[in-house]
Amino acid sequence: MSETEHTFTTRGLTKVYGSGEAAVHALRGVDLEIPKGEIVVLLGPSGSGKSTLLNIVGGLDRATDGEAFFEGQNLTAMSDRDLTRYRRDHVGFVFQFYNLMPSLTARENVELVTEIAEDPMDASEALRLVGLTERMDHFPAQMSGGEQQRVAIARAIAKKPTVLFCDEPTGALDSATGRAVLHVLNDVNAKLGATVMIVTHAAATAGMAHRVIHFADGAIRSVETNAHRLSPDEIKW
């Protein structure tokens, strides 16, 4: 497969925090290929490097060494301005703590992104996809945690992203709400064809992935593909 058929390809990706004796090796030469349109779950204990990888391929952080490609473009060689452009046009983020703008309503939080994206879907359409049609004009303070997270997902998918990054998306949610969120992620992948990368502690989530990557000590320990994917409803919480 050529690099353009993968969403991401990395070669010897290395990230070192600090220097000398205090240096922490967060990533130790990671080689990885992530095919388009898959749901990929990154598993591993804290400090194993999975979030660091997500941040680098998400254009939030820079590698110390090695290369990372997005559809053939070298992310590690991009300027700050290009990375901003990259995030703006191709990437959607979903975080553990939602990171909504408290001063904007649900719809406005989504419009924040649709205003600057090239070919976005309608903000209300995005909110419909996450099942929040009724709550569009509420402010974050008036919503539950699960609702806020679904707004965050709507915000992330409204631009029709090529790739959706989720860092512990269900970490702050109870099981029912968490399942609903996973459903939404599943739908986004199925309906929009977006590659979805999920970092999580919850090993059970791996059941719904096409591909599961296990991290330990800054390196990939194993990669497995699921022959049979579970629906979020079948996942044991």
């Binding site: 941040n55 909504l100 904007l104 205003e115 303070a141």
Partner: protein
């Protein structure tokens, strides 16, 4: 040390930048308070001590000629403690190498004893030897200005006779703290001399053997000087009494009093502003801190610390900052006060300085700053009390903006999302925004008011010497001269134009209201010494009646058509009844004008002139001065340029110099508030801003969300600042203005323009500084923290 106190110290260290900045604002406020209080009390104490030690008289009664025996009658007036008679005359000193003759006062000293009143402080040399009529003691400041040495010879013209004297001593005296020639009100060490001479010598010069022409009286403790005044006037009336006056009407004392009240005005207005600003900043910083430390607060409470203990912990932080600032301010104020007092000592020619800083000002300074800071901190403590351990342990709920949604529909049509964020933040926190607006506006008001005043001073100069006095040289006479003598001046070398005026010293009365000043008689169409109104137009001189300045009419509570009583203080001292012809808005001071002929007519002294204004060919000035020096009737010659320079110097020293300090401090404060507002907005929104960056907003777009709020604050603050500045400029000008010179307070677009530019510049610099932080922000770390 308890763990909480250790936390306090570490927290303080962590916010040392902001804490330091706030402490500095407190320090500036306290130091101004301490410094001004110190200067005020030093000035007052020194003056009082100087007056008492050298027995400055309470009442001065100038007469034409009175026998020495009259002194006993004066001494018998109830309430009079001591009486001294002396000879006080005018002289012109001829300094070698100086074309222009210098005015001087000649003062007699008793022959075999020290003066009972108005003693002098001999700075160098010795007292006069009785009988030696050629000896003089010279005013120290004049001697310094001309590098005179003991033993030098001095030539002076007195009563028309030219004589040489030998200098035996240099002295200072409490009645000459502020040295102005009679009739002038701008002090200039080099252009005014005092010569102390033996009684006999001066009596011979002024033909006053066995007589005196000035009685000095001191009043017993508890006696009313005003009552003494009337009794003195009654006794000396038939000896050509020119109206006894009190110490506070003496030019020298009046100047110091004006200076003191100017200082007092500033010290009341300015320090509270600094305290307010400090309280505001403390409130914001501590609020921010409590918000950030909710979890820690919850934890501490969960451990079993009481609300009070936790609250007091944060209150201590406020206290530490306030007290540290106040302590530093006291040191700063002590140092500044000492330095300023030193300046005052030289400006006012005090032989010694009672430097006194009242402990009260320290107590007030520290107390006020702690109170102000507490007021700022108390609002925050309420929040601490309200936090329950459980609530504090959860991350804060998103700030609720639902109530600001009312404007939603109207806003939506024309605002993009980032603009909505800015607007909603502003509407969500109107109090906080208003605080920032007020802070910036007050800072700006303070600077623009100071600038306004500064420009006002300069304008006063320009008006006085560009519009009102357009002569090259003015000549005053000892006695009013007949017009013929004035016409003769046209033939003096270099004289191009001659303009006579008549000035009469008088007390103006309307019922119970009175004002001691003068009436100026002008010729119609006068062009060298003019009466002009607010619009720079000549005030027409009516054929009869008097024109009063608005300020004067207000003091006297008199209007057009009313009769004004003019109690003339010279010559035969007539009391005139003159109708008020009109009230004019004058540019400066509180003058009263009459048509010269009309004034002379009322005085029954036709064709008399007291001051002549000349336009002169500058090439011939030396020849002109040489002629003027030889004229016995000439009391003084003033070159306009010298007068202007002296006035400029006066305005740049003492209280005048304070305005530069104030303007600088106001500028710093404005910048401090603007910068702090930007910093805090950044602190509160760091997470939102990082999210925007992550979503794909560029740095510029992100900066818009942050700086939009700052821009709104500045836009709102500018007009408010102009308003506050306008009001403050009146307040400060009123403090600085005196009867002697007034500071015009007009709306000055240039001052406000400069202040506006300064605020905008401060905002740009602050914005740039904070934007650098946006550029440096660690996106990952910000998103991981829970606020």
């Amino acid at each position: 040390m308890s763990p909480l106190n250790r936390k306090l110290l570490r927290d303080l260290w962590r916010i040392k930048g902001q804490a330091g900045a706030i402490a500095l604002v407190v320090a500036v406020g306290v130091s101004l308070l301490v410094m001004m209080a110190g200067m005020l009390s030093s000035l007052k104490e020194t003056r009082a001590a100087y007056y008492e030690r050298y027995r400055l008289s309470d009442v001065v009664a100038p007469v034409t000629r009175a026998p020495l025996s009259l002194l006993e009658r004066l001494a018998q007036i109830p309430g009079v403690a001591a009486v001294e008679g002396r000879i006080f005359g005018g002289a012109l000193v001829d300094m070698p190498g100086q074309a222009i003759p210098i005015r001087a006062s000649a003062v007699s000293l008793p022959t075999h004893r020290a003066p009972r009143l108005n003693d002098l402080y001999l700075k160098q040399g010795r007292m006069l030897v009785p009988g030696r009529t050629e000896e003089v003691i010279v005013l120290d400041s004049f001697a310094k200005a001309h590098d005179l040495m003991l033993g030098d010879t001095l030539t002076a013209t007195m009563n028309g006779a030219r004589r040489s004297f030998r200098i035996v001593g240099f002295a200072m005296a409490p009645e000459f703290l502020f040295t102005t020639a009679p009739g002038e009100f701008v002090p200039d060490d080099a252009r005014f001399a005092v010569l102390w001479m033996n009684e006999d010598a001066l009596a011979a010069a002024f033909d006053l053997k066995g007589a005196f022409n000035e009685a000095l009286l001191s009043v017993e403790r508890g006696a009313m000087p005003e009552a003494v005044l009337d009794a003195v006037d009654a006794i000396v009336d038939r000896y050509g009494g020119q109206g006894a006056y009190l110490r506070e009407d003496h030019m020298s004392d009046r100047f110091i009093s004006e200076e003191i009240s100017g200082l007092q005005a500033t010290s009341v207005v300015v320090p509270p502003i600094f305290m307010g600003v400090a309280a505001f900043l403390l409130n914001i910083v501590i609020t921010r801190m409590v918000q950030a430390e909710r979890e820690q607060i919850g934890l501490i409470k969960a451990f079993g610390y009481s609300d009070f203990e936790v609250g007091f912990h944060y209150f201590k932080m406020v206290l530490v900052i306030a007290v540290a600032g106040a302590a530093f301010g006291c040191v700063l104020g002590l140092w500044g006060g000492r330095a300023m007092a030193g300046v005052y000592q030289t400006v006012y020619h005090f032989p010694f300085l009672v430097f006194q800083i009242s402990p009260a000002s320290f107590v007030t300074g520290v107390g006020v700053s702690v109170l102000a800071a507490s007021a700022g901190g108390l609002f925050v403590l309420r929040r601490v009390f309200r936090l329950t351990p459980a609530v504090a342990m959860r991350p804060p709920a998103p700030m609720d903006f639902s109530r600001s949604g009312a404007l939603n529909q109207r806003l939506k049509s024309w605002l993009d999302q980032p603009s909505r964020m800015v607007i909603r933040r502003v509407m969500r926190n109107p109090g906080r925004i208003f605080g920032a607006v007020l802070g910036v506006a007050v800072g700006m008001g303070l600077s623009s008011a100071q600038l306004s005043i500064m420009l006002g001073f300069d304008e006063t100069l320009d008006l006085t010497f560009g519009v009102i006095d357009r002569s090259d040289v003015s000549v005053s006479f000892f006695e009013p001269m007949p017009a013929a003598a004035v016409n003769a001046m046209k033939h003096l070398p270099g004289v191009v134009e001659v303009e006579p005026t008549r000035a009469v010293g008088a007390v103006l009365r309307n019922g119970l209201h009175s004002y001691r000043g003068s009436v100026t008689g002008l010729t119609p169409g006068a062009s060298l010494s003019r009466a002009v109104d607010n619009d720079m137009n000549d005030i027409p001189m009516p054929e009869t009646g008097i024109v009063l300045a608005k300020a004067l009419a207000d003091i006297l509570e008199i209007g057009p058509g009313d009769m004004l009583e003019i109690e003339v203080l010279e010559g035969r001292r007539p009391v005139l009844q003159v109708p008020v012809a009109s009230i004019a808005e004058t540019l400066l001071g509180a003058p009263a004008f009459m048509h010269m002929q009309s004034l002379n007519h009322e005085m029954r002294e036709w064709g008399r002139v007291s001051v002549v204004y000349l336009r002169v060919d500058s090439a011939q000035l030396p020849a002109l001065y040489a002629e003027l020096k030889a004229m016995p009737s000439v009391a003084g010659v003033t070159q306009r340029e010298d007068a202007r320079a002296a006035m400029q110097k006066l305005m740049d020293t003492g209280a005048g110099a304070m305005r530069y300090v104030m303007a600088a401090i106001a500028g710093i404060i404005t910048f401090g508030i603007v910068y702090n507002a930007a910093r805090i907005a950044y602190g509160e929104q760091a997470r939102d801003l990082a999210s925007l960056r992550v979503i794909g907003f560029t740095r510029a777009e992100t900066a818009f969300v942050l700086l939009g709020e700052l821009a709104i604050v500045i836009l709102l603050a500018l007009p408010l600042g102009v308003g506050i500045g306008y009001a403050l400029s009146f307040l400060i000008a009123a403090g600085f203005s005196t009867d002697l010179y007034q500071i015009p307070t007009t709306f000055r677009p240039d001052a406000f323009g400069t202040a506006t530019a300064a605020v905008v510049l401060a905002a740009l610099v602050s914005g740039w500084l904070v934007r650098r932080d946006i550029d440096k922000v660690d996106l990952v770390a910000t998103l991981k923290t829970r606020e």
